[in-house]
Symmetry: C2
């Protein structure tokens, strides 16, 4: 969530205060779009939440679409941070179980609202905003890599059989997580997430030596 000022798009470098305001807008937008969806969040809603005027929003973002792109980047980074804060590495069955519990707990705290911060953006935007789609794809890729690294580590250590395919298992786990978050959001209970992850973890543990 930091930011290296590597020469902002040529024009318009931001001052300290400007950066703060911009961040405030993005996180306000992220919050609202997570709760109400992108289309369900008007620029005016963002203004109120971030305590800014419309001129400010359009000063920092050419159009709403640009703001949405910033939100995607913000959410992607934030999710990765969250993941890493839950478990340093997913490199043991124990770590995987801890992570599973933490994900379930998170949904409980959220009262099953909002599904996945990235997934819901993906569902809404993938087919209508190519630009957004590729950013979301990249976000998922990073997430997948985080999971895969842990599994590869397990395999290196000899915990996971050589016949296991960490790349596939990581993708499958992420896939089930996404489905679980979606169904949890619809049903307003964590059962689908629990059952989905448990099944996938059982599958992974079938490769444990």
């Amino acid at each position: 969530m930091e930011k290296l000022n590597k020469a902002r798009k040529s024009k318009h470098r931001l001052t300290k205060k400007g950066e703060e305001t911009r961040d405030r807008i993005v996180s306000a937008a992220a919050k609202l779009m997570f709760e109400k969806g992108v289309a369900g969040t008007s620029v005016e809603d963002v203004q109120k939440e971030a305590q800014v005027g419309s001129s400010q929003i359009y000063h920092y973002f050419k159009e709403k679409r640009e703001l949405v792109k910033a939100v995607i980047i913000y959410q992607t980074e934030k999710e990765l941070t969250t993941q890493e804060s839950l478990v340093i590495q997913l490199d043991s069955m124990e770590a995987l179980k801890t992570w599973r519990d933490a994900m379930v707990q998170l949904q409980i705290e959220r009262q099953c609202r909002g599904g996945c911060p990235i997934g819901s953006l993906a569902s809404e935007l993938s087919d209508i905003e190519p630009d957004a789609r590729s950013k979301l794809e990249a976000g998922f890729m990073k997430w997948e890599t985080f999971i895969r690294k842990g599994l590869i580590e397990m395999q290196k250590r000899g915990e996971l059989g050589i016949n296991a395919n960490p790349s596939e298992l990581a993708l499958a786990l992420l896939t089930t997580l996404q489905g679980g978050l979606l169904l949890t959001q619809v049903r307003k209970e964590t059962l689908p997430l629990e059952v989905g992850l448990d099944s996938m973890l059982a599958h992974i543990s079938s490769f444990i030596i």
Copy 2:
């Protein structure tokens, strides 16, 4: 997709032609909302697609929200029909594999556009339209039941171990399917769906006797 006229909401019974028009509106709306999302589909878009005027839409539906509800019911019924046309029952590993292949094939034909017809509605509406949410929940329930029935059948026949829990496996499979459809939509390739379903089928087959 048929309709028994069990005394339409007291007032306003529909004539044959009226029913046709109504159906045309719903299926046009369903198509567009699948492609562009609910918020991304204006009533005017629906008018053009269905070749009707706005007065017709508002004659059959009190407001857009009502139309959306009709779309949910339509898509739920349609999806169930599709599922049953792919495989009569999911009551053997072979049937499960056939089904898996068919789902992947379907996404290829759709060029990975649109994700799941029910899932994408769910993602967009669950948290903002309680009424829609419960209808979507019911839709998923039916789907889950369809899967569960097959697994129970397998267990009855002694193919599936007594230690397997058909309810959980069915829910887990549906969960992974949803995640797979979502990630497939984002990545524009069927790999997540394939890997997810394969892993879950492997897990199920671990209970095979």
